[in-house]
Symmetry: D2
Subunit: 302 residues, 4 copies
């Protein structure tokens, strides 16, 4: 028995990159948070502190900013692929690079009914995300949305569930259902030839998620999630699977009976913790193995 | 010399109230965070623990929920006034009540081009706010907006400033300017007769703030704030003053010259801390004294 | 009637300054968050964007770092006074400067029973604070502690309170009481001659706050706060007043009766929101006016 | 090709459980955040909304509170095992349960040199953690520490690293190194017979992490992490592997040369973002497969 180095990675996390593209007087904004992560033959730095095979995380940061200037950033998936291919391609000992990017949205300010050339307001708290992995000449792309906060004030039930000695919850056929959804969709590998329609897929998936949330008569949050994922896969053949993580943000009917008041689903307390947490994957039966795509930074720890 | 009780107040903070108003199948949502705060003759509880004059904060919370059922919540200013008047009116020893409310926005989800009856998505991170004070039969209302995040990619300068031995900043005539604005507008007291146009004022002030941010050629963030406040007061005669607090969310041009790249205002690092913090009041010269309106919970501590 | 500029201030917020003082091999650490704020004749920059009287916030930041090198930082109150006096003393149009400093604690790591020369671990979440104001040749110092989280599992009652139609809370003579205390103590002005015992006062006040929390049989959180403040003023004649802000972090006895279990104060749910918020001042009857000391950044907005 | 349900789980997240054990007048406090997560045959609820096999997350919450009363909570690993075994053992369709627990520390307040019976102060921001998994009659335990914030003011180097066209970082043989460490240690499976020494392992591992941080002359954060993990495995034969995730919390020497000042490692800017992120596993060469132990909630998403 020996003690050895196991899986390891390193990089620069949360590089806050903002770019302005100037088409004459009309400016275009990109606001990204970029994290890099490299893997490969890195035993020397761990075992002896020999850094000859280490590209400083400061350099990784510089690369993000420089690449944003050397060519247009474009869609976050393409920018991630450029960066990941560069890190793997330029260093012999690096065999795997993962780039994670969050995109923060901005809307063009309207003045006098016209969109302004160079003034913007933040469009909300939700973020478009991607996690790109390059390894062994192959690319995996897992794109997503984070913080999509949704609420329906009816059209949600929860009944017919198990009862054990600790069960006191009453079944209901009309409740508020709210969540702050995280969704991730994995593209089929190998990626299709030609320019990928990352933007169209993002817009289309988001529209499906929102629509299914609204129109499905929910019998369980699990069922809503499955319908979301199924609708997405049916519409987008380029996707292998969809993962959904949904906190059940409880809205409790406030008991007004001590004050002589009825409360037929009108006044709620929005609770913070604890919350239900429902997580589901919807997948194609013939989806290829995710390879390293699901083994990213966030999954590093238990 | 004696040691005595000085200013004091107590209440329930951050009651998370969500209401659903049902107009047949069409539902209307209100999502509020309500904080109550009472002042008056409260020496006994402090000095001896005699609570005979103390309305429990639990009761204050119940009152918020019950009032939301007893009559429609309506606009947050009106709901705050109802609550504040109740607390002062129903307890002899309470002479001042302040209600602070944040309203979180929701947009109706569109499905098939039609707004959905009962499904909503969170509209962003910014919050509509109010702080209502009742004292001595008078009412003060300070309404506002919190977290209005704006960015302009040009049209902002900063030059001609003081130079001292610690000054190395270079003047610029073209920079990114970004902020997450907090604005508060105080209504004239006594409040106008008849239904106040709280909603219209909110929408109009927000539109002015955003417009002035976009159209003013900024020579300093201070100047932008002043123009914002001035435009608001010119449009809304019912307002006494506007307070503005604006972090200068620095976007630094990233130095790409070591890599042989020019960077004419295209690639930026969005920094977290430190940040400039610019705060200004714009007021009518004949504005009445704010009375207790500016001495709220948040101003309690240095 | 005219529209005019009202109260205003500007500065650099949250400068993250860490210093290492090297006494030979033994190092001493200071970890501060410093915010500067200047007031005075600043109409030009607001009204016309003329910045001739504006010291850039970048310069203010540089000054913080340079001053940390030009002389030892020392106690945060002294460092704040040095900075505030510099800003007022070196710029004609600046008549008031406020410096707010939070100090983050570090403990020396022990190795083999000995304190290590240069390795430290963060000592907790609480922060020592000060807010120093210089105006008209006078100095005000309000020091404090933030985030002092305390809990007692008995020795706390709440009974004999008002009952109104919205009251359902039951009186109790044994409850958990927990808070995350913010305390601020204002020094008498003019400050005493000679070196002020800022450190001793800090340690002594903190010890009193903690002790009173533990030993007072609490009949109300208000009463506990008053006893805290009174004990502090009795011990420290150099203080004019103490302000205390205490969230009542509710710990609710969990109802286990549906499961056939008694719960005599053993199992609790620690709730997030809402929370009671109790705020009180204890003062000397002859305390001088606080002047600008209580009108700091945090109190700017309603 | 078909669209099918893939991996899924559900539970109650962040149950805030506080218990008071009363040994006569002396009270003992436990402050835990508990999250439950169940897996198994859950297709029906996803596909059709048939909840007959679903134990409500509300019930899972009740179980946490009830179990805290039915027997002493004890060490968090044992409490997690009790809960996980219950969920798997009492429901036919549940084949895997994971319980994640964070423990928040409290110190007994000292009054007059004596530890107080029932008054406590929060001991800091770091948390003791565990993630327990029961599946197929086996148990996996991954315990850890979160938020262990450490800084050394010398004894850290970074030199000899790769240089590419984007490298401008200068090698250094004396820098500040700071991190907020997350460490997780996986116990060998099957777990040893008899009472496990969870507490002793926790205390011993934490001591080793802190000691190695202090005494290793660091040539790279990677090397420090490896030494930490190796020392832990050498001391604790019951552990299979250690995972370490360490943000490199950069402290940049502030450039004071424009002000005519030297700065030989005395005045630093503590930066927020971006930060290096170094992650490493140290493992026994014969460590058994982690099975489901590493596939927990936090690793769910890319």
């Amino acid at each position: 028995m020996a003690i050895t180095l196991g899986p390891n990675q390193y990089g620069k996390a949360e590089v806050r990159l903002v770019t302005v593209r100037r088409d004459g007087p009309v400016h275009h904004l990109k606001d990204l948070t970029v994290s890099t992560s490299l893997r490969g033959e890195l035993a020397a730095t761990h075992l002896t502190g020999d850094n000859a095979g280490v590209l400083a995380t400061d350099t990784q940061k510089n690369t993000v900013y420089a690449f944003a200037k050397e060519a247009p950033v474009g869609e976050i998936e393409d920018f991630g692929l450029r960066l990941a291919r560069h890190f793997v391609g330029s260093q012999e000992n690096i065999t795997c690079a993962r780039i994670k990017i969050d995109e923060h949205g901005w809307d063009r300010i309207g003045v006098g009914g016209e969109p302004h050339d160079h003034a913007f307001s933040r469009s909300g708290d939700e973020r478009r995300t991607t996690a790109v992995t390059i390894q062994g000449g192959r690319a995996w792309v897992v794109s997503g949305i984070d913080g999509l906060t949704l609420l329906k004030s009816t059209g949600s039930e929860f009944a017919g569930f198990l009862s054990d000695p600790y069960t006191i919850l009453q079944p209901t056929h009309d409740r508020v259902m709210a969540t702050s959804l995280v969704a991730q969709w994995r593209f089929l590998t190998p990626l299709a030839e030609g320019p990928a329609a990352w933007d169209e897929v993002y817009a289309g998936v988001k529209a499906q998620l929102v629509k299914q949330f609204a129109v499905v008569q929910s019998l369980a949050l699990q069922q809503t999630l499955y319908h979301m994922g199924k609708a997405v896969l049916e519409e987008f053949p380029q996707l292998a699977e969809v993962r959904l993580s949904a906190p059940n943000k409880h809205h409790f009917v406030y008991d007004l009976s001590p004050f002589g008041l009825e409360n037929p689903g009108e006044v709620f307390h929005a609770d913070d913790r604890p919350y239900g947490l429902i997580q589901a994957t919807v997948t194609r039966s013939d989806a290829p193995d995710p390879g390293p795509a699901r083994d990213l930074q966030q999954g590093w720890l238990a």
